[in-house]
Symmetry: C2
Subunit: 215 residues, 2 copies
DNA sequence: TTATTTATACCGACTAGTTGGTATAACATG
DNA sequence: CATGTTATACCAACTAGTCGGTATAAATAA
């Protein structure tokens, strides 16, 4: 076996992700990608048959990493609490924590693709849809359990409330960039958490466990 | 004065907006723009000195139109109700109504620019920031009035809750595109409205609101 | 052992077409 | 006419993608 090509391949993907987050993949030329990776045209086209295949590969990897985060995060909150509402609230807390330490260019590759038609193939769309829906499905199940115990004071579509979890992230990324203020992401997720709590927590029953609350 | 160039100018902007929403401005060539407008290169460069100036002009127009919507919408809800919370809830209702009839490519030009670094100049950023903040400012003022009358059951950052209005829209645009399901925009705004109501509306039963939270 | 084969990994000059942008002449209208 | 508006022709730089060739290292064979 010759030199290990997967290293180069990974470096291409990493470089491309960084550039895509910074300026969008559509506006990123292959020359920039190979320059940042430190390889040549030939090497690039050995690993990817064209730019579009690179785009698909990149978003698939992004979705896989998202899936890993989903699995570990949900598993973790399910061990931290037995109450479904608390589990969701904790998940929000974890999400906020993830964006406490601010990444260089906070954003979502899927959202980036959304607004760049060339990359938004049906294949990429489906990958993203699946990746997003698993979060909403999990949250919805939890919220419905919670609502059974303590029905919300106003009639509300719990599916939408669940999908709002993703909506908050995607929207917050955009505001973070527009305001040049990355901490808005964590703040928004926490605000969403608090609104969830107001919507679904038991009214005045003294059976409340002390949950540590950040300041 | 000879022929009226403002017509051509407007047609250029309209064509560009449509293309930018569909595939992103970075991936849209001037040739496509002039083809869609039905003019030639010469006419284009008479009206705009380069592509970047077109981008700035377009986002400024977008922000102006947004400002008009803001003015009429807030004025309208302020006549429809005297209660600040109801005004905000009505504003959400209006927002949902706007996206009931689905536009061809639901989305926000500002968000599109966000993810395409070339266009995201500091000038464009500031235009967007101002446009977005006036909504949040108005909502925040209303929610603070409402919270004075009926404090929320959980401690919550009302500034974040106000900015969430924009966050919901921006995030919902992305989910609408990802799910290929444009009605998610209206649904999300309505879910946000319902959560607002749960957070701030006077309790049906005039019970005591002892929010004793020891941290 | 050593020579040969084979498959993977990579290089960099090249091409055909596209890009944003310019130069300049023609046209319209007061 | 003069000024504002549009058209044609063109360019230099850049684009994605190709192609012939090279380097590496393991497997095989002498």
């Amino acid at each position: 076996m010759p030199r290990d090509g997967t290293i180069t391949r990974t470096r291409i993907l990493d470089a491309t992700l960084a550039l895509a987050m910074e300026k969008g993949l559509a506006a990123t030329s292959l020359d920039e990608i190979i320059a940042k990776t430190g390889i040549t045209k030939g090497a690039f086209f050995y690993h990817f048959k064209n730019k579009n295949e690179l785009a698909i590969t990149l978003v698939k990897r992004f979705a896989e990493q998202d899936h890993e985060i989903y699995k570990t995060a949900t598993a973790r909150v399910e061990t931290l609490s037995r109450d479904p509402l608390q589990q969701v609230l904790l998940l929000c807390g974890l999400g906020a924590e993830l964006f406490k330490e601010v990444p260089e260019n906070p954003g979502c590759l899927m959202a980036s693709y959304c607004y760049q038609g060339d990359l938004w193939s049906e294949e990429a769309r489906q990958v993203c849809e699946v990746a997003l829906k698993e979060w909403a499905d999990w949250i919805e199940a939890k919220l419905k359990q919670a609502a059974k115990k303590t029905p919300p004071a106003v009639p509300v579509d719990l599916r939408q409330v669940s999908e709002m979890f993703q909506v908050i992230f995607e929207g917050a990324f955009i505001l973070a960039r527009t305001y040049n203020q990355p901490d808005i992401i964590a703040r928004q997720v926490l605000a969403y958490r608090d609104m969830l709590e107001a919507l679904l927590k038991p009214a005045a029953k003294p059976r409340r466990k002390a949950s540590s609350r950040r300041d």
